[in-house]
Amino acid sequence: MKSSLSGRALHGVFSRINTKRQWHELPFPISLLNLLSLRLDLRDKNLFDTTDKYKDGPEQDPPPEYRHARHPEGRWNDLRDPEMGSTGSAFTRNIDPRRIKPEKPPRLHDPSARKVSLELMTRDEFKPATNLNILAAAWIQFENHNWFFHGRGEPDQVMEVPLDDGDDWHETPMHVRRTIPVPANHARSSPDGDGAVDYGNTETHWWDASQLYGTSLEDQRALRTMQDGKLKIAENGRLLPDPEQDGVDLTGFNENWWFGLSCLHTLFTKEHNAICDVLKKENPRWDDQRLFDTAWLVNSALMAKIHTVEWTPGIVNNPALWSAMNANWSGVLGQNVKDLIGRLGDSEIFSGIMGSPAEHHEARFQLTEEFVSVYRMHPLIPDDWKLYELESGKLREEREFVELATRNTRGFMDGFEIPDLFYSMGIEHPGAITLHNYPRVLQRHERIDGEIMDLATLDILRDRERGVPRYNDFREEMRMPRVRSFEELTPNREWAEQIRRVYGNDIDKVDLQVGMYAEPLPPGFGFSDTAFRVFILMASRRLKSDRFFTTDFRPEVYTQTGIDWVNRNKMKDVILRHYPELTPSLEGMPNAFLPWHRLPEGANGNGHRAGDSVRKRVEGVKKAVEAINA
């Protein structure tokens, strides 16, 4: 795409400033203009197709049922390039594929990813992210499962990670499954024969709630009641069990299961069915398929909105950005700023993007390996969990993560009401995304299939294996200045020395994850500025490329009720629609991912009265909800 005159002017000014100072070090509103310039630069220079180029031919006619509905496998979103973003299609790159160098031994193990895990990642003490609640951690995993998965690999195709003598890992060397190119015919023969391959996404690339709805017609048939458009859910309001895996729920994507995911899947399954109810009432003659398709569109758009206007502002809570939200900048600075702000999260302007023409900026919309890399946020997960009873506000149990995850999930949840679990996540903090805060439990994580893995080792190894550059090279690719020394990387002196030791004084060897977890964060940020660069590029693409968020975000496709549903609801509304008893804890909260109100504890004497007042308020809310529904 040719950049506009103003875009080039911005680039000219800010590329010079940014060699010394980053956007967040500049005063508002200069910082905002700087961000805009960065986004324009990234879009011009950091979008690359891999094997398959964008097919820019004439529009084709989809099967009629997919003109106004999402395809289970993500086909026919773009009518010129129907395969774009579909299940199994390759991840693209934010870096010129000619410069991608998947690492091989000895470089692959220099230093050993396990050493990085143990010496730099291991949680010494739990460092909370005090401006967020655990629901924010569950949410991002929920969304990652919507966006991407590289598959499980093959047991006989492994990498061997060298271990230090003192390592207590149960096998030497550690075996980690390779990422398998999916499908295999995507192998790329580059001119210099670096053996780079395209990896496929087992999920659709679209923001289509495939974690809930699955990625094939077969998945959907198993999940649907095939009546009134609804998804299956038990009488007691719980998801059904997965017949093939003990302790895990039946839903679109149930890898890496734990109660937080289960709660969100339950909530949005119920939301889907609630949307079906309303659509059915308004369109009594609609058949099951049409109700299902429309509710799917509405539900997935609502999730995209919640992510954009709630989760994101929660985790990148920068005053310079958010003060811009209230000002009428879009009028002064035009569509570019409007897009930028919208992507960052004001609901009104979000609606502005929604319904504008689709645009891919001349590279196929597919998620990128780099996007996957910056969403590695395992430090969000606590090791030790406190579980409360909503009604009394009392701490009920303290548990370790293993007791409430994988095959233990359903059994654990049977002992609680779902609102208790939401409340427990709502009031407690997730871990901060920094060094020395990796959940110990995930460094020796037993998968449901019995495989034991160190996810911290995996997080490091995956980037190396897939040719995502190490930190300094990555920054250069994102046109950020390289850091020159360990001192410059992190203001934490002890970390600087530890990183120096692990990487043998070579700043250029520092892994992307380590650099992102070590670097100083912009004010209000829950993750790194380096990660943010990929985010500001890709987050807007996820909306701007999707026909159902742009050209076809219109009443004829969604119904007016559906459009209104997306525009008028936020996470809090969804939670309270299905669990109104949470009202006291969420009352007045501007954002459901910020820590909720703690209810007074019963144990302190006036708990009984508090419990009564909560009950009264809950009853009031229930009556109000009934009145609205009637």
Binding site: K20, V483, R484, S485, F486, E487, E488, R493, E494, E497, Q498, R500, G504, N505, D506, I507
Partner: protein
Amino acid sequence: MSVSEATPQEADAASNGTAPSGGSGLPQASLPEGVKVVAAGLLPAVARGLFKPRRGMMKRLTAIDADRRTVETLSEIKRRHPGQGVRLLGGRMVVLWGADAIREVLDNSATTYASDAGAKKKGMEHFQPDALTISRGEEWRDRREFTEAVLATPERLHPFGQRFVEVVADEVERMRVSGTIEWSHWERLFDHVTLRVIFGDRARDDQELTGLLEKLMAEANRIAGLGESDDLHELHGRMEWHLRDPEPGSLVARFADAPQTDSTRVVHQIPHWIFAMRDTLGLNAFRALAAIVADPEVEKRVREEIEAADIASAGGIDGMPYLEGCLQEAMRLWPSTPLIARETTRATTLAGEQIDEGTQVMILNTFNHRDTGAVPDADRFVPERWHAGGRDHRFNHLSNGTQDCPGGPMVLLLGKAVLAQTLARWELTLCEPELEGGREMPHMLDFFSIRFDARRHP
């Protein structure tokens, strides 16, 4: 500033409360006296550049013979208050000249008497924020241990001494001289030697590294209004680059076996070695060379010692006591560290008297080294003075006590090697400045202006 640093002593002499012999504690000086000390003693030290000597200012201070004024002013005040020193400015500052009191302070340095205060700390933070010399307490012990291990402080001869001596011989041989040797030649010589000794032969031409440090140190002279400099990251990056694959025989190759923790901050310890070796030793050796050449008697004895020794070997260089005396004497006469400043970390007693926490304790080398009332032949160049060995706590160009210079033995080895190799190759005549051997030495010797006629020995 001081290039000095050492092992802390268990006993805190000050708190033991024994009043030192000789003199009557620390009398109070009058306000005019206090102003004089500040004007004549402290300001010139700051003006010449606390961290990086300023060429123009050195010339001007030399022209007015500023250090002579310092000595005269202090001598006058000492005559009136013949104790261990005086208190100034209502007790906020103490200036010491008694050997016992100086020893008391230096033996408890980095603990009771911290060196990480005031202008020194402010300035040094600009180019070496976690350096040993501005550390105290546990961090100081940690960094001192590391530094002593790398520099082999307890050993008279560094384990890599032979290589260092060979590096010096090679660099003196490669010095490009056409008829004269002046400061620019000398500075370049020491630049190459320093880079090779610390980082290895591959680093010989990394003048960007030493240039960055020079730039930062020149900025640090300002003391006030120093912001965090981007060049510091650049400097650290360049140093780290040399650490990636340490060259055998270099000081950085000793890092792997030196005791260290996360608070050692190994890279922060290197800049001090660079400027102590490159700048401080460089200018002191240049002055020593001038003093030697200026006095035919001294030069004759030095040349005899050179001829008798195997100057290609570290052992040979080590065994040159007269040359060593020359180097020490140059450092005594023209101390490149004009003053040592300490700040009390708690209320304590000094010279038997109570002093408050936060008292500034000044040891003015400029005066103490030239105190004609206490040092015999204070103004004369007397290398024999150093033959007896032992320490005189009034002479602090390498400091004394806990924070004495951990590079002391290396300084003497490298300095002697440069002088011996230079004199062995060249016949020198001192052209500038005027310096008469056997007479009283001037109080200032501007090393920037030193120039020799040089003829290669056949």
